[in-house]
Subunit: 305 residues, 2 copies
């Protein structure tokens, strides 16, 4: 694979058409706009509703991205699955597409599994993909997956696959955990899962952030990433955190999609797949008022739509 991804990445939200199929054109437009904002593409993440997509749908979108000429060096697709043959299939496709890395959930159906079992899962995937270009970023999101990735597991994987295990996205929301990952492991790129921890992450020696709200606010988040040593870094951090917290008062994924819908006058963007539910009229009005209060827009996004 190519140079290691750093900085700000967005778990790209997935638009759906009236039949709830992935809307490839709207998706590509959003990907292109994010790249124009210095934001990498962590497609097929939690905020992408990736686990609500079939394996075939994920492969089809990945192929569309390659055909559209999106830069693989800026892409980190989610390729996890509860079933290792599917994780192998998706990961192989990502490597062949030249992606910089993959972001891999643990198998998340069984709970309380052992580190031995988790190690065996990642090991099966790595051995079966069998490609030196593979770079795996582990995905620790215990509140959703309910299957954590322990520090001991990371140590064991790094020892067995030092060139392949490249880093982690820590969506625990627990700064002490993120800091421990940064401090304990060398040559291991730690991304925080929310921009609220971006300044702390950079000061501690982390790699950046992969955050839901980078779908709509990538420029401001990247500005902090690029200027984390500037005198006004704390003020920048406060500003992007305040905006995130305001958006997070509503259900995050439908809210992100509705913000894009509002900023591009395109309500089609509001659709989600079940079990998620799109925002209702009152929630959209609340969201509109929030955007107005922050004087928020998505510069150039309408033109990209």
């Amino acid at each position: 694979m190519t140079e290691a991804p750093k900085g700000v990445l967005s778990p790209v939200v997935t638009p759906f058409d009236g039949d709830l199929k992935p809307d490839t054109e709207r998706w590509l437009a959003h990907c292109r706009w994010l790249l124009s904002q210095d934001c990498g593409l962590a497609i097929f993440g939690t905020n992408s509703e990736a686990n609500s997509l079939s394996v075939a749908e994920r492969r089809s979108l990945l192929e569309a991205a390659a055909q559209a000429g999106l830069d693989g060096a800026r892409m980190m697709p989610g390729t996890g699955s509860c079933a290792f043959p599917e994780a192998v299939e998706l990961t192989t496709a990502a490597v062949k597409a030249g992606c910089a890395g993959v972001l891999m959930l643990p198998p998340f159906y069984y709970k309380g599994v052992s580190d031995d079992g988790m190690f065996a899962f990642y090991s099966e995937v790595i051995e079966r993909v069998g490609d030196e270009r593979l770079r795996i970023y582990l995905y620790h999101i215990p509140l959703v997956a309910q299957v954590p990735i322990s520090l001991d597991l990371i140590a064991r994987l790094l020892k067995a696959y030092p060139g392949t295990i490249a880093g982690i996205k820590d969506s625990s929301g627990d700064w002490n955990n993120t800091r421990a990952m940064i401090e304990r492991f060398d040559g291991f790129d730690v991304f925080c899962g929310s921009e609220q921890f971006l300044l702390d992450t950079m000061r501690a020696g982390g790699a950046g952030c992969i955050s839901a709200t980078a779908n709509i606010n990538p420029h401001a988040i990247h500005d902090l990433y690029a200027n984390w040593q500037a005198a006004d870094a704390d003020a920048r951090q406060e500003a992007i955190t305040a905006f995130r917290m305001a958006i997070a008062k509503l259900p995050m994924i439908p809210a992100l999609k509705s913000v894009i819908g509002i900023c591009t006058d395109d309500p089609e963007w509001g659709r989600v797949r079940p079990p998620l539910v799109r925002l209702d009229a009152a929630q959209i009005a609340e969201l509109g008022a929030t955007l107005e209060r922050f004087g928020f827009d998505m510069p150039g996004r309408r033109e990209a739509a």
Copy 2:
């Protein structure tokens, strides 16, 4: 579909070959033996490691069952998926194969989802399968899926799809919940998820049980089902519960597979897919001692192997 399934069903364990691929011949032999013991086939359940199988692997096994002439009227495959297109694909295949019903997990990645979103998920599947023969048994297993199926959701689904929503498997382990389901809904077949509740379930008016240990002890469990009004029913219940509890001291899925391996002199049966881990030598010795203490065997199972 055919007559409603009642009685005892087994979430059929899935054997794997040396490359961790499903071992179709060993699987069919186990299915045939279960049918010979008056035990229905709830293939692709939690104990089947169904979520560790790809959609293609599940379809291939279902096809193998049909080609082998297994009676669809005795089959209730698990067809749930976090992605509704995959649930539609698997459910359609099950209906076309003449299965008596399907056992459907809720989408289990996102947590804390609303009943509106859950209703929308099942609704998409039912409408898109679009087949009057479809009979759905909901699958409530909150300790694993971490996404419960509420009584209110059941009521709403029954009202919208009275001919299609046929029943539920309650693996909550909470008898009060199972009883509430039986008492509240008419024409709704409630299966307890463990034989330890079988007698209570039958006395309350339930349909039977779908239980892990029916993989190895189907005859004794069916005996209680068939004789639940007999004078010695409570003693039968105590006996099968004691055996289950002894097995459950070890991790259930690897233990079930090792019991089959022990009873058929076939250690190949012991394999599991990660993130599960097969029993080690000490655990197998412990299991062997347990079987000996109970004087346990699987009558005719060796001949079926």
